[in-house]
Amino acid sequence: MGDARAKTPPGELMPGTLDMLILKTLSRGAMHGYSIAQFIQQASRDVLRVEEGALYPALHRLEVRGLLKAEWGTSDNNRRAKFYTLTALGRRELDEEAAYWERVAAAVTRVMQTA
């Protein structure tokens, strides 16, 4: 079903993390796929470069799961684009994922900080 837990090259995101970043990005408002990719890159100060193609399976997976809602609209330069918005379910998922991530990150940091 595309939930690849394969070895991810350094600098790239694991699918689960990518989902979380997408949800976080969309919590700021509706965006289309391209804007999401741009935002993640800029907000991470170029550290995280999303393999752009990987974005779309993730977006579609989230939509099927009911965490996102998709609607066709017009972009800034008057082109037809698919805009994604966060659903209530998506918001809840984002909170859970964010909490989990923080716990994990804190734990990893703690271990790394031991002598």
Partner: protein
């Protein structure tokens, strides 16, 4: 429990084409945006396009992955499941046979019962106001009461004396032989009094039915009314059928009318109708003891069945 995936996938099954188009457009939009970005950065159009594609990744593969999200897995694995089920059943033949037998008996008996009920279901008679039609029979007192039918003198009496009935018609059926044609044939016929057709409310489609004068025992007219089935089958829907003379048994009758399709009289088999007056020779018609036919009668509108039996 999240129902969304199943729901979305079901929708996807029905809107496959639209999803494909949407996916194409979505990816095309992204590539176009990236290309424009590179062009703004100074790259040549062709280079920009290539770079955009490279950065995106394997378009075909990624589209495939997107499609995977939407596929309705249960349906796709259906054929696998069916084959597995068949294999399992084959491994335990006893169980399979018992199951098949049980299903067969269940389905079979249900079908049989419903077919029978359907066939036996009473259908309304296709006559005018059938609720007001009754059949009259004569009873004869021997060691016990026997139903015999009426005799012609009885019929006459009933007709003149009965108060509850609008009109009456004697009727009986018989097999006669159609002669004088290439292939003689046994034809089911009905002998009926003149008011018979009017009582049932059926009009002929060609010609007419008997008049009262033709139904006179003293001087019966040798006329006949034909069914639509016989007219089509033996006479090729001859437009000049009315007026034609045909032999039934030993006598010649003139066709005076044809009845509508589907009408085959009260016996539901008749192809020919003759005046009741020719039912038997005059001597037989006068004999009160000669009981053997029923009489069709229509109740007067204001009379209920209860009062009539009184």
């Amino acid at each position: 429990m999240n129902f969304h995936p199943a729901w979305h996938r079901l929708i996807a099954l029905l809107r496959r084409q639209r999803l494909e188009r949407d996916l194409d457009e979505e990816v095309a939009f992204h590539l176009a945006m990236r290309e424009a970005d590179y062009r703004r950065g100074g790259a040549a159009p062709a280079d920009a396009r290539d770079a955009a594609r490279r950065r995106f990744g394997n378009v075909t593969y990624l589209k495939e992955q997107c499609r995977d999200m939407w596929t309705f897995h249960p349906l796709e694995t259906l054929s696998q499941d069916i084959r597995y089920a068949l294999r399992t059943l084959r491994r335990s033949p006893a169980f399979t046979l018992v199951a098949i037998f049980a299903l067969a008996v269940g389905i079979g008996s249900n079908t049989a019962i419903f077919s029978m009920l359907d066939a036996a279901r009473a259908r309304a008679l296709p006559y005018r106001d059938p609720g007001q039609l009754v059949e009259l029979w004569g009873n004869v007192q021997r060691t016990r009461v026997e139903r015999r039918g009426a005799s012609y003198p009885d019929f006459r009496d009933w007709r003149s004396r009965a108060n509850s009935f609008e009109e009456m018609a004697a009727f009986d059926s018989q097999l006669l032989t159609l002669n004088g044609v290439d292939e003689p044939e046994r034809i089911s016929s009905e002998f009926v009094s003149a008011p018979y057709f009017a009582l049932l409310g059926i009009q002929p489609v060609r010609g007419r039915t008997f008049s009262a004068a033709e139904d006179d025992v003293a001087k019966p007219a040798l006329v006949m009314v034909m069914s639509d089935g016989l007219w089509k089958r033996r006479f090729g829907s001859d437009p000049d059928i009315v007026g034609r003379a045909l032999r039934l048994n030993t006598r010649s009758y003139t066709v005076i009318g044809v009845m509508p399709p589907g009408f085959k009289g009260l016996s539901d088999t008749a192809d020919v109708w003759l005046p009741f007056a020719v039912y038997a020779p005059p001597a037989g018609m006068a004999e009160r003891g000669n009981r053997g036919f029923a009489v069709l009668a229509r109740l007067k509108p204001d009379v209920t069945n209860r009062r009539r039996t009184a």
